[in-house]
């Protein structure tokens, strides 16, 4: 069984500080939602309110259509995996996994069946008698997931579950998490500060900044149509290039420092002369080309195997510039090069409000 999760205008205040500010979220049953944002933006607080570990200051929380705003954590039909795993140190792996079931007086053979099955799914059958301290980080991670699975909840909550693992193990566990979700089909709300994790795992991403949702959408949507400057800068790696400019015509931005005029992929509904921020993904920059409007002073060239990331500045304005070009171009360090632009990767934002001027998607996303 899986159940949707709905947050209606949920806020959280600690004293006078509003940490979470009027969040609306509607996760369909079985959906994998990732809450992403910088450290301290209120992700954990939001998740803890859904879990019932933190009281809600304002708003309502529904799980499976039932209002659980003031319901105790164990009555919400959720399971949570903590960042530090929070395994009970005095219990064996099997006891850790079965603790919730023993509390509800589940029959012994039923407990054994569920623990056995979860252990098999996670490949930890040979660890059941061990104590948590005798496990590696990755094994603890699996046990923590096993403890959640055994309860057969309607909703899984994860708070940065992979952040204590090394890079290689993290990538591996990410894949396993995706497979696990496909297999169990449970609604999952997953918190992370890592946008790569968010992009790879999420069916829908919720981007938070200072307790306010900046955008909700599929990974493709938030990457291709960032609603504002924050999302544009947060999603995508390397981060999007942003240059100060003015709107010369409804479909052209002028970069005064660099003396360049850049064509937009489509006309925007704003008056000429308006101050804007022009955004270009590093992947949208190409070496050379017939019409190459940007001149870059390359400082460092990082060869990553299939592409080279060039770091430097835009000649004329001195603004930071990053280009990700395919192939081996390590030799370009400390050179000046011309770059042409793939219009699909060009965005333009209102310099005052930060909103995407092309964004027609804002209406769809705000539903």
């Amino acid at each position: 069984m899986s159940a949707g999760v709905e947050l209606i205008k949920v806020s959280k205040r600690f004293g006078n500080n509003t940490i979470v500010d009027g969040i609306d979220l509607d996760a369909a049953a079985g959906e994998f939602i990732v809450l992403v944002g910088a450290s301290g933006c209120g992700k954990s607080t939001t998740l803890r309110m859904i879990a019932g570990l933190e009281a809600v200051s304002e708003g309502r929380i529904l799980i499976g259509g039932r209002d659980v705003t003031v319901v105790r954590p164990d009555q919400r039909d959720i399971a949570m995996v903590f960042q530090n795993y929070a395994l009970y140190p005095h219990m064996s792996v099997a006891e850790n996994m079965s603790f919730a079931l023993t509390l509800t007086r589940t029959p012994k053979d039923e407990i054994a069946r569920r623990v056995g099955e979860a252990a098999r799914i996670l490949g930890i059958e040979n660890l059941l008698d061990r104590k948590p301290k005798a496990l590696s980080g990755g094994q603890r991670q699996r046990v923590a997931m096993g403890r959640a699975i055994v309860r057969e909840p309607s909703v899984f909550l994860f708070d940065e579950p992979l952040s204590n693992l090394d890079a290689k193990l993290r990538a591996q566990m990410r894949v396993e998490l995706a497979l696990l979700h496909r297999r169990l089909g449970k609604t999952t709300i997953y918190v992370t500060h890592d946008q790569v994790e968010a992009m790879t795992l999420a069916e829908r991403i919720v981007i938070l900044d200072r307790g306010v949702i900046q955008q909700t959408g599929t990974p493709t949507e938030v990457f291709n149509r960032p609603r504002n400057l924050f999302v544009a800068g947060f999603i995508g790696s390397p981060a999007m290039n942003l240059f100060r400019g003015t709107l010369a015509a409804s479909d052209t931005v002028e970069l005064p420092g660099a003396g360049a005029r850049i064509r937009l992929p489509q006309a925007v509904n704003a008056a000429a002369g308006k101050p804007v921020m022009l955004g270009i993904r590093p992947q949208g920059l190409l070496l050379g080309g017939a019409d190459a409007p940007l001149r870059m002073q390359v400082k460092v060239a990082e060869f990553l195997g299939t592409e080279t990331v060039l770091n430097g500045v835009l000649k004329g304005s001195g603004e930071a510039l990053t280009a990700s070009v395919s192939g081996e171009h390590g030799g370009l360090a400390e050179h000046e090069i011309d770059l042409s632009i793939n219009p699909a990767h060009v965005h333009v934002f209102d310099a005052d409000t930060g909103l995407n001027l092309i964004g027609t998607q804002s209406k769809r996303d705000s539903t």
Binding site: A51, L53, F82, A86, Y88, P89, L103, R151
Partner: protein, 273 residues
């Protein structure tokens, strides 16, 4: 000074310290096997015909059983009560925020620095007033009161080491606050409980001055009973030392058992994941 002589000095100092500690105990045990006459004729030598007469006299004395039971009741009940109140108070101090929490935490530790002898007179007056003298309950109350501050302080540190996430995980797993305390906190602070138990039991078992003041013929504890061998006509050294040796045994055994809990807890890498 070179390293060798430095080492020699260290060993010398340690040996002196060991003699100071073990010496009196040795004298006590040796004397307990001597007749009154031997006590003064044989000096500190090991060469004498040992006698079990002192032990027989002490153990088969008509009152020994009662005093032993008194001591056991006082020691065990005081220890259990101290641990029970101490772990709950420590948990409250560590986990709940309330006005004056810091003040309580510091006052708790400062109370511990007051010597027992200093409070003997006021305690006697108050206990008399409240009709708590000459009862085991009165003595137990006193020992709980004097041991609680240290116990709270000790357990407070242990509770602080338990990550809050463990309690939250337990809450999600279906534990109400009391169950979290019983199933998660208590097992994890077990080394602290054992250390506090050693400490409390030894004070309650050995304490003399206040026990002397607060007990009568029927509520005496063993240390007070031992003092009865010091009489107007002289000291019955053999019996005194025999009883003293017997009194020293239970704390030794108890400490040994409880210390294993402490050590296994410490080597288990405690609580942190």
């Amino acid at each position: 000074m070179n390293e060798r002589s430095l080492l020699a000095v260290r060993y010398l100092a340690l040996t002196a310290l060991a003699i100071l500690c073990v010496g009196p105990i040795l004298v006590m045990i040796l004397t307990s096997f001597k007749t009154q006459a031997q006590t003064f004729t044989t000096g500190l030598t090991f060469f004498f015909v040992p006698t079990l007469e002192n032990y027989r006299d002490v153990i088969f004395d008509s009152s020994f059983g009662r005093y032993l039971v008194n001591s056991l009741i006082v020691g065990i009940v005081a220890t259990l009560l101290t641990l029970l109140l101490g772990c709950m108070a420590a948990y409250g101090l560590a986990r709940f925020s309330f006005a004056g929490r810091r003040a309580v935490a510091y006052a708790t530790l400062m109370l511990r620095t007051v010597p027992l002898a200093v409070i003997a007179v006021p305690v006697f007056m108050i206990w008399s007033d409240w009709r708590l003298t000459n009862s085991l309950g009165g003595l137990i109350l006193l020992y709980v009161a004097v041991n609680l501050p240290f116990t709270i302080w000790l357990l407070y540190g242990f509770v602080l080491q338990v990550p809050v996430e463990l309690e939250e995980a337990a809450a999600i797993d279906g534990c109400r606050p009391w169950k979290v305390f019983l199933r998660i906190i208590l097992p994890l602070i077990r080394p602290g409980l054992a250390a506090a138990a050693i400490f409390t039991f030894r004070i309650a078992w050995n304490e003399f001055i206040l026990a002397l003041v607060l007990t009568d013929r029927s509520t005496r504890t063993l240390p007070v009973a031992a003092s009865l061998f010091v009489t107007d006509i002289g000291v019955e050294w053999g019996k005194l030392m025999a009883l003293a040796s017997l009194i020293a045994l239970p704390p030794l055994v108890f400490t040994f058992l409880a210390a294993r809990q402490v050590i296994s807890g410490l080597t288990a890498g405690a609580v942190k994941g």
